[in-house]
Symmetry: C2
Subunit: 447 residues, 2 copies
């Protein structure tokens, strides 16, 4: 078949796309030429740890925002690759909540095992993507930062896999300029020990706020206050952690909350989310959405409705991650290769409208899990991605939610069953609260 495909980003989504094409190639199919442009010096996306914050050695915004001692906040069984299991990669059973270096090793391990590196041009930032109506192809302008050279190439398809958790959303609060301590977004959080003995305010109500608050507690913060906008997380926090209503104003070190309370802090950490940010895309190609389970304008959550030769991976709010990215990538591959045909516009609109309507009516996290499970099942029906038990995954997610409700400090000590192998994971040798060393070696040791 003809065609030339640009993949933007070599994080988990981009690697899933390369894996999808490589698996087809190994199955005997002729695949199009694939070029994956990666801004960072190596593949891995957010899973690369970067001690720098702000801008990188080339003056570009830092992509990775993961921090030291970050342990998975969901069971690894809920993100396992069906074609490359944890048991296969590590050669031993491992517990359900690995630290970042272990998951990074797993993601990059599959890429290495399948030789995906040869598709990737690292240190190359995509500067502009335009669609040429006459030629019917995309002009992609990139800058190779090693060679310090810019060039434009043409592609029949573009797959955007640049992620949506790397560009911080940083709201302004009255008086913030007068605060005498550190002010930062969670994207710049690297080292919990920096806040030992400090009184920390965490602003936000989602996963980042939850985990950074727990990190600060675990590594010795004097107190952690979490300020929420809409609703408290309501977990059974330790005594030194509390939740308060919306931050109202800041006067020097004293922060006032909308419940009338006030407290002095040493640091403020904004866990206020991220922007879907695609400065390299022409306006008519640019996805504009918040962080939701079914972004508008993407058929099957993948195909840019106005021009389906442009695809997006992983732009949803996520319970499912790696395995969902694989399903999206397999589906995108099959459309590119003509194995799956896209319906006419009316049919696409009807399908998108039905999913959107259902999404808007979702009452709670349990219903959200079922929604994304059904979305994954819908993709899985038409592609040859290996079987895995999506219903067991959904049950795992719900059990995990209940574990967190029961005790936010111990939920990572639980064990889950693989949806790929059916095997129940071992319990880790050390509880999360006591495990201070996040190295691969410490984690894989028998303890």
């Amino acid at each position: 078949m003809s065609g030339r495909v640009a993949v933007i980003g070599a994080g988990p989504c981009g690697l899933s796309q390369l894996q999808a094409f490589e698996s087809a190639r190994r199955g005997g199919a002729r695949i199009p030429e694939i070029v994956c442009f990666e801004k960072q010096t190596s593949a891995g996306g957010l899973w690369n740890y970067d001690w720098r914050t702000g801008t990188d050695a080339y003056g570009e915004p830092i992509h990775a925002g993961m921090y030291r001692y970050l342990w998975s906040n969901g069971p690894k069984e809920c993100l396992e690759f069906a074609d490359y299991t944890f048991a296969h990669h590590f050669g031993q059973p491992i517990p359900s909540f690995p630290p970042r270096p272990v998951l990074a090793d797993y993601v990059l391990g599959r890429a290495k095992a399948f030789g995906l590196r040869r598709y990737i041009e690292t240190n190359t930032v995509v500067r502009q993507v335009s669609f040429d109506q006459d030629a019917g192809s995309f002009a992609v302008t990139v800058r190779n930062r090693d060679k310090d050279e810019q060039r434009t190439e043409h592609f029949s398809h573009v797959i955007v896999a640049s992620g949506h958790f790397s560009v911080p959303n940083i709201p302004h609060y009255e008086g913030i300029e007068s605060f005498p301590g550190r002010v930062m977004h969670g994207h710049d959080f690297r080292e919990a020990r920096e806040f030992k003995g400090r009184h920390v305010l965490v602003v936000g109500g989602s996963y980042s706020a939850e985990d950074i608050a727990l990190q600060c507690h675990k590594y010795g913060a004097a107190s952690v206050t979490i300020s929420y906008r809409s609703a408290a997380m309501g977990f059974h926090w330790p005594d030194t952690v509390d939740e308060r209503a919306l931050l109202a104003s800041i006067d020097g070190a004293e922060v006032s909350f909308s419940d009338g309370s006030a407290k002095e802090f040493d640091a403020i950490i904004f866990c206020t989310g991220y922007l879907h940010h695609f400065p390299f895309l022409d306006d008519e190609l640019r996805l504009r959405t918040g962080n939701r389970l079914y972004p508008a304008d993407l058929y099957k959550g993948i195909f840019w409705r106005a021009n389906p030769k442009l695809m997006y991976l992983g732009m949803q709010d996520q319970f499912y991650t790696f395995s969902m990215f694989d399903l999206q990538a397999w589906y995108a591959r099959d459309v590119v290769m003509g194995r799956i045909g896209l319906p006419d516009g009316a049919a696409m609109d009807a399908d998108m409208a039905a999913w959107s309507k259902r999404e808007e009516a979702l009452p709670d996290p349990i219903a959200q899990i079922d929604f994304q499970t059904d979305y994954c099942k819908d993709l899985h029906e038409l592609v040859d991605y290996p079987h895995f038990d999506l219903q067991l995954l959904a049950d795992n997610f719900k059990e995990w939610e209940h574990d967190k409700e029961h005790d936010i400090l111990t939920y990572r000590d639980k064990a889950f069953r693989s949806a790929c192998t059916g095997v129940l994971s071992p319990v880790h040798h050390t509880t999360w609260l006591e495990a201070l060393d996040d190295s691969r070696e410490a984690y894989l040791a028998c303890g």
Copy 2:
């Protein structure tokens, strides 16, 4: 006359360029259409204080790196606008070393007085600049961030005034990933009180290292160690400040230096300079230089040798600032308007070679001051910028250098004579070391 001029950036250099054209217009000349694109929400460039670090509300790298309690580290008399004096703006004599808000008020005050705002499109980031050989014009692609719209316009001339102190140079040091405290570049330094009682390592040997070290001392750091690469600054530091040779390695909180010494720190601040970073310029238009007094490829330090319709302002290492920017802007204006003709290539090359040869032989800061003074005189000869006493300015710089050698803690308490009015400034009501309030109100109060 015909022509359409794009000015990139509305900081001091961009404002100087607008002032140059506006003064010609007020003098009765027909000037070309001028469009100044400014990324930030207001003019002022680095002189805007931004509490954010990393990326801004639109996901673009933060430009401004100035911090609270930043007081000018050079006499205001050495940067005074000859067409808009400090005495005229403030209506009263003011001391020689104002804090940031006062200098920002001055820079923006001239812009307001001359109505320069109408030339500026704020919140508009330049994405790409290309030169069309056939059309003989520049294609400038910009994104208006308010409207979230990208567009391309064409200009006969482009003047790059985006600065070179906004994109940090952040080297890697062995073991930095293991450091348990805060790691940052000086560009992200905002609030000295954050380091009260802390042991701070400042890496660098130039103005940023000098001033951030003094800020940390002034606002209560337990100790400040400055690590230099080539040579110690050698000032008479207070007892809690010391200088050490190159940072060799980092092991946890302990930092080892090449002189064999070691010390534990709470924070590391890299004052390791900035990159000349022009991601928006096509390769053949892009200045590539370090921070030096006479960058290569710029005739008169302004005109891009390969295509003089592209100009750069303020790309030099700087003793002179605002007044030098004015001289460059006046010169650029007169070339654009045909008042000054550029010589042929051979003559330009000979002129550039002579300046470069002299620059490379400069033995010390005093010779560097004379060099930049002569550079300014060379520009001033051909333009109608108001007279000011450049020789007095050079003497002021040298006196300032001697004051710093004498006492780095008191040099800001000295008074200098205006090169525009000849008037000696008053001594400030409070010494710099005792002046903790950097507000305009406190500074202008009679004390």
